[in-house]
């Protein structure tokens, strides 16, 4: 009896997933972001593509960290080539820096628009273009209705969208499969050497549809994520050295 019940439940769960925006991935299209704990937080234990991800940054200083983390994800998404569009009101990204996160800067097309309304239009059009790999959009305020249009377009075209919301007026619910918040944390060099180390972030997965939200401290070294063990961070509280 119980076994039959469980089977029905798991079958129902599987049926619900596509309705929530997690389309079943093609076998050859499985993206591995190279960090199991984050992947495990998502249903099917793989990073979902073809849907919208929301990134909130509450301080303007965190915007660089947010873009850094997204650039890391992009490098994984664009492993097999592909192009990406970044839509915003101002030039935010400095292309040469993308190279150090493993993204070819010449494959990123920047679109600068003045009005938020125009950004919404351009984003939806870009999300409908199935030849793009990802669309980044920097927008402060977005309503549920607008975000749902994005999500539907992304599901249709299998383009992955990243909405970056820098200090929004209100953190309203929007139709995305996940909500992230990235903040920088102090870097460490090996053996308490002086100087600035690899970028480190506190990655918070605040919401995820049908998954398990979580919180990780990770470091980006050369081309992969590494989880920071808490105890190391405590150990190396060294005296400031410079030079």
């Amino acid at each position: 009896m119980d076994a039959a019940k469980n089977q029905i439940l798991s079958q129902l769960k599987r049926d619900i997933l596509p309705l929530q925006g997690f389309k079943k991935l093609r076998a050859d299209n499985n993206i591995n972001i190279g960090f199991r704990p984050i992947e495990k937080a998502f249903p099917n234990a793989c990073f979902p593509i073809g849907c919208m991800h929301e990134f909130i940054s509450n301080a303007s200083s965190d915007i660089a960290a947010t873009y850094g983390f997204i650039a890391c994800l992009l490098s994984k998404l664009m492993q097999l080539g592909g192009a990406c569009v970044s839509i915003s009101t101002t030039d935010i990204l400095f292309p040469p820096a993308l190279k150090s996160f493993g993204v070819d800067p010449e494959k990123v097309i920047f679109i600068n628009l003045k009005k938020e309304k125009d950004i919404l239009y351009a984003t939806e059009q870009a999300l409908k273009c199935n030849k793009l790999t990802a669309v980044l959009v920097d927008i402060k305020n977005i309503s549920f209705k607008e975000s749902r249009r994005f999500q539907l377009a992304a599901e249709q075209s299998r383009v992955t969208g990243f909405i970056i919301r820098n200090q929004p007026y209100s953190v309203n619910t929007i139709a995305c499969v996940s909500r992230w918040q990235i903040t920088s944390i102090a870097s460490e060099l090996q053996d308490a050497m002086p100087g600035v180390g690899f970028p480190r972030w506190n990655v918070e997965l605040l919401k995820v549809r049908n998954g398990i939200p979580g919180k990780w401290k990770i470091e980006w070294t050369a081309d992969s994520f590494i989880e920071i063990k808490e105890n190391i961070a405590i150990l190396s509280k060294e005296v400031r050295k410079i030079g």
């Binding site: 200083s61 030849k131 980006w220």
Partner: protein, 500 residues
């Protein structure tokens, strides 16, 4: 098929134009004059003044003696050319190939056009009556050659339309002036008593060449059709050009859309056969009140996709003002390139910038928001961060040098470095803390400096010493000191970027 030409002669071009714009002048004999060697010389006379015996080239003082009531107006040197240019554009309704003939006439290549008006007689009558209704005194003639048409329009008295192949007999009785010869040759001809073309037309060529030079023979051959004459059209003929006249003036948006769709289908069909695509195109509507409405589009990749091009034009159709109606639509592709056909993959999971869909998306956004919204960057051979990237000229342009990876660059770069106040321990050390936008940041960690010299051949800025620093909260910044420490003044510090 033999060619046919119309020559139109405006005998009082500027004067007629002035009367048209100032009807009061109609009753007064007036002349246009400009200063020549310190005296006022008449450059153009009105029809009325001419009847009173005033002619071009006369001094104004002499004319005043003959006709004290004469009105003298200033001649604008560019006016004649401007008027002819405008009239020639108006004449596009008769033929697409029109040329301006010196400063008082037009030449129209009407091969294969006249039958649209029934016959040449109706055709010519239409031209003459339309132009006369604007107030111009004109004479026009049709012949097989430019030379013959020119001669008949100026000097012909019997008939205006010379049948094909009959130009020799038509110009026999005309004076040698009808051949567009130089003053010197004309004088010699008159001196020798050759008052008509017929009197020397059949003389041996060697004799004519010896006495009057090569020019006379050339002009004679051109008039008779033995020699092809150069014809330079005012409107350059586009290689990829389609036109669609409408039976009745079009005033509505659906009408314009149908015309556009049909023109695009014809043009794209042709482009597809030649494996070409257009980069930029212009759609024009000729209104019945002589205005031209136009919309232009530019694409990133050469395209011959009717649907896509139609969408690009469609965004701008709203700017067309049909007013009383549009009677002719034209579509021309001003830049056409070969299409490189990409091999399609079956499972197009990933793509590149060469893909057609991306180019079409960008075309759509550009035509809606303007061409300058799009940026794509390539590395440039400069060390200063703001000069280290350059915008790509096209979607397919590849980086000419590899992206530099040996130096750390911030993911967010400020467009202009912002001034900060710092506390720095000793020269050439990173600061201990800095104040940016009113907030104090305490530096916890820092890397050794990276010196970037300003390029003296481009600007005379000071060199910059860049430091990567990290504050208490773990946020990373890019600061620089501009110039050296010296005894007089402290160097300025700036913040230039944010690391991830």
């Amino acid at each position: 098929m033999s060619k046919r030409f119309v020559a139109i002669w405006f005998s009082f071009l500027q004067a007629d134009w002035m009367i048209y714009h100032n009807p009061l002048l109609k009753e007064i004999p007036f002349v246009l004059a400009s200063s020549d060697h310190g005296r006022m010389k008449i450059t153009q006379v009105s029809a009325l003044a001419k009847r009173k015996g005033i002619y071009v080239g006369m001094a104004v003082a002499d004319a005043r003696i003959i006709l004290p009531c004469i009105e003298v107006l200033d001649d604008k040197p560019e006016l004649a050319n401007k008027l002819l240019k405008k009239i020639s554009l108006w004449c596009i309704r008769y033929t697409p190939i029109i040329s301006i003939d010196s400063f008082d006439g037009l030449l129209l290549d009407i091969s294969g056009c006249a039958h649209l008006w029934g016959n040449e007689k109706n055709y010519l009558k239409d031209i003459i009556s339309k132009l006369r209704s604007f107030g111009y005194h004109i004479r026009a003639a049709i012949a097989d050659t430019i030379g013959a048409a020119w001669a008949i329009s100026r000097y012909g008295k019997i008939q205006a339309i010379i049948k094909s192949g009959e130009q020799a007999s038509a110009i026999t009785n005309l004076p040698p002036e009808a051949l567009r010869l130089s003053m010197y040759t004309l004088e010699r001809l008159h001196k020798l008593g050759l008052y008509t073309i017929g009197s020397f037309m059949n003389m041996p060529r060697s004799v004519l060449r010896r006495r009057f030079g090569q020019q006379l023979l050339l002009r004679l051959d051109e008039a008779l059709g033995h020699e092809e004459e150069n014809f330079q059209s005012v409107i350059p003929i586009e290689a990829y050009y389609e036109s669609l006249p409408s039976l009745e003036p079009i005033k509505t948006r659906p009408g314009i859309e149908i015309a556009l769709q049909r023109l695009l289908e014809i043009l794209c069909n042709r482009l597809q056969h030649e494996a070409k695509g257009l980069h930029s195109a212009t759609f024009k509507g000729y209104r019945i009140d002589n205005e031209i409405e136009r919309i232009d589009i530019v694409t990133n990749h050469p395209s011959n996709n009717v649907h896509h091009l139609f969408n690009l034009f469609e965004i701008k159709i709203g700017t067309i003002e049909p007013a009383l109606g549009i009677e002719l639509f034209t579509l021309e592709a001003s830049r056409v390139e070969d299409i490189i056909t990409l091999q399609q993959t079956f499972w197009a999971a990933n793509s590149s910038l060469e893909s057609k869909e991306i180019a079409e998306l960008l075309d759509c956004l550009q035509s809606k928001f303007g061409n300058n919204i799009l940026r794509r960057y390539l590395p440039d051979e400069h060390h200063l961060p703001e000069r280290s990237v350059k915008p790509a000229t096209s979607l397919t342009e590849k980086p000419s040098i590899p992206w530099p990876t040996n130096k750390l660059r911030p993911i967010r770069l400020l467009k202009e470095p912002k001034h900060i106040e710092v506390t720095a321990p000793i020269p050439d050390y990173p600061p201990m803390n800095f104040r940016y936008e009113g907030k104090l940041y305490k530096v916890k960690k820092a890397d050794a400096c990276e010196r970037i010299e300003a390029e003296w051949w481009l600007s005379n800025e000071l060199h910059r010493d860049y430091y990567v620093v990290e504050d208490e909260e773990g946020k990373r910044y890019w600061l620089f000191r501009s110039g050296h420490y010296n005894d007089q003044e402290k160097p300025a510090w700036f913040i230039h970027g944010f690391f991830a």
